[in-house]
Subunit: 328 residues, 2 copies
């Protein structure tokens, strides 16, 4: 008996989920749903049908867990509650400020249908969130710091691409080494936005474009760059394609805390991710979480959940006995 | 309503639990049990009674969760099943090879009494185990490495102290930086015991003792030192007391894995602990875990459990809503 997985949306994330399923022998990809014409969607997995997203409900009995691979801005707020009516679902909703609202909408739909709906899985929110929670529960007195990078920010790259005279752009978020060291030292520093991260932007400009004007527009851009020290480098299209086509990312969650009679002992808990492919790692988390959702559904649960509600053992292909014997 | 915690055994670990409870406003220390004469046991917490360990059962209704702070060699195999007859219990049983056997004995007792018994909490087993599980569930194709140190190994220090002519000794386990770097690089190296860790021993010798004989006995000691590169340094009692009286420890769990159509993308997940006090950090984990045990008991669960069975939210003092809003 394998867990039958459906993928809703066949972009970077959906393709990543497809690859992740191949690494999990207890899972099988049984359906891909797309807003495009199914005939135009060519997937890796032989024999698995591609259906129209609009027809998803008709295929609910072919899928144990549907992994929804849409974007957080407009897709997921609509899709996750909608598909929770017919499927156990997993999403990677990552607009932190709107999580309570999204949770409530999804919870209502999933409770009505009796399905399990796990939202906001991935690495942040997701693995980083788990590490924030564990470290704070263990060390109640202390400070938690999250750093991102070195990695590509899609949103910032897109913002630069909209500037007049820019042909292509890639933005890297880089954690400041001195800030990381200060946090690890246990001095519990207060760090400004500027002290935590720098930004590095590679730009391919139109021929004859005014590079100093483009640079100025970038470094002063509100909400995106104005609070950071930003470096802009102009390169040609060839170099962009050769050196900057990947989607690496990662970061750090560090908690610095104190224990003891007089708080005399200091402890540092650090979780670090270094990812060649941001979407593929996220997809791999979604696949593991889908296993847990399947098990939670089998246990008779329903409603919305997050990674905070998943007992770690439910994520693993191994039995509880095997886990205790080999991993504890 | 606070969670009423009992401590069984008032050594380094028990004292650490007492301090940890003060950092958790939803907990209260209501009883300490000791094998010593209660009149000889002076604790930090005012107003909390100290009872004889033998009388524990008579005080079962004063305690919601009993944290058993005995040693793994002889105390816990006997104590944890015994006290699970009367209490919800937590222990830090850390003899990895005997976990299945300990789990079975504790499970039988806790199922019979209807109590929850959580075994093998701490950092390894404990937080390191959780990180091994999470990382492998997410990246099924890869290798997991555990490194310990820099930190004091009590067992190795004790072994050196038994050598003729040794007055005092302190052994540090040190991870090899080159091995850590090789693992992080994604080359998935096979590492021998000698390649992963070195050992550094500080010895206070008796006056006139033969230092070269002591060194030889240390570096060739079977199971403890013979498979490692060991450095022995002779110091005086004053330096030992001044520089080596702490109990620092820590280490790394690193998983290196691959994803993608052709396994072309590499990811590194790294969890690192740097602890000033090994027993106090372990105690802090035990306190958080006691909260989860209390909740599991309130939910009607019974039997033995491990950290793999704890939904992370149960560890936190915060409500699920607060966790989603502030930590996800």
């Amino acid at each position: 008996m394998t867990i039958r997985i459906g993928i809703m949306g066949y972009g970077n994330l959906g393709r990543g989920v497809e690859c992740a399923i191949r690494q999990n022998p207890d899972m099988e990809l049984t359906a891909v749903f797309s807003r495009r014409n199914p005939e135009d969607v060519s997937i890796l997995t032989e024999g698995t049908p591609v259906y129209r997203a609009d027809d998803a409900a008709a295929h609910a009995d072919e899928v144990d867990v549907l992994i929804i691979c849409g974007g957080s801005a407009t897709d997921l707020p609509e899709q996750t509650p909608k598909y929770a009516e017919f499927f156990n679902v997993v999403d990677s909703f990552d607009t932190h400020a709107n999580i309570p609202q999204h949770f409530a909408a999804v919870d209502e739909a999933a409770k009505a249908s009796g399905k399990v709906a796990l939202i906001s899985a991935g690495w942040d929110p997701g693995m980083f969130s788990l590490n924030r929670l564990y470290a704070e529960a263990i060390l109640p007195e202390g400070e938690t710091y999250t750093f991102w990078g070195t990695g590509v920010s899609q949103g910032h790259s897109d913002a630069v691409r909209r500037i007049d005279g820019v042909v292509d752009a890639r933005q890297y978020t880089i954690p400041v080494e001195e800030a990381l060291d200060a946090v690890r030292s246990g001095s519990a520093p207060e760090l400004t936005t500027r002290q935590k991260h720098t930004r590095l932007v590679y730009v391919v400009a139109e021929e004859g474009a005014d590079q100093s004007r483009i640079t100025e527009e970038i470094v002063t851009m509100k909400n995106y760059f104005d609070e950071y020290d930003t470096t802009v480098k102009f390169i040609d299209a060839e170099e962009m394609a050769r050196d900057h086509s990947g989607m690496p990312h990662g970061g750090f969650v560090i908690r610095s805390g104190r224990t003891g009679k007089d708080r005399e002992n200091h402890h540092v808990v650090e979780y670090k991710l270094q990812l060649d492919s941001n979407p593929e790692f996220t997809s791999s988390v979604l696949a593991a979480v889908a296993r847990a959702v399947y098990r939670m559904s089998e246990m008779g649960m329903n409603g919305a959940r997050t990674v905070f509600d998943i007992a770690p053992a439910w994520l693993s292909i191994k039995s509880p006995e095997e886990l205790r014997k080999t991993m504890l």
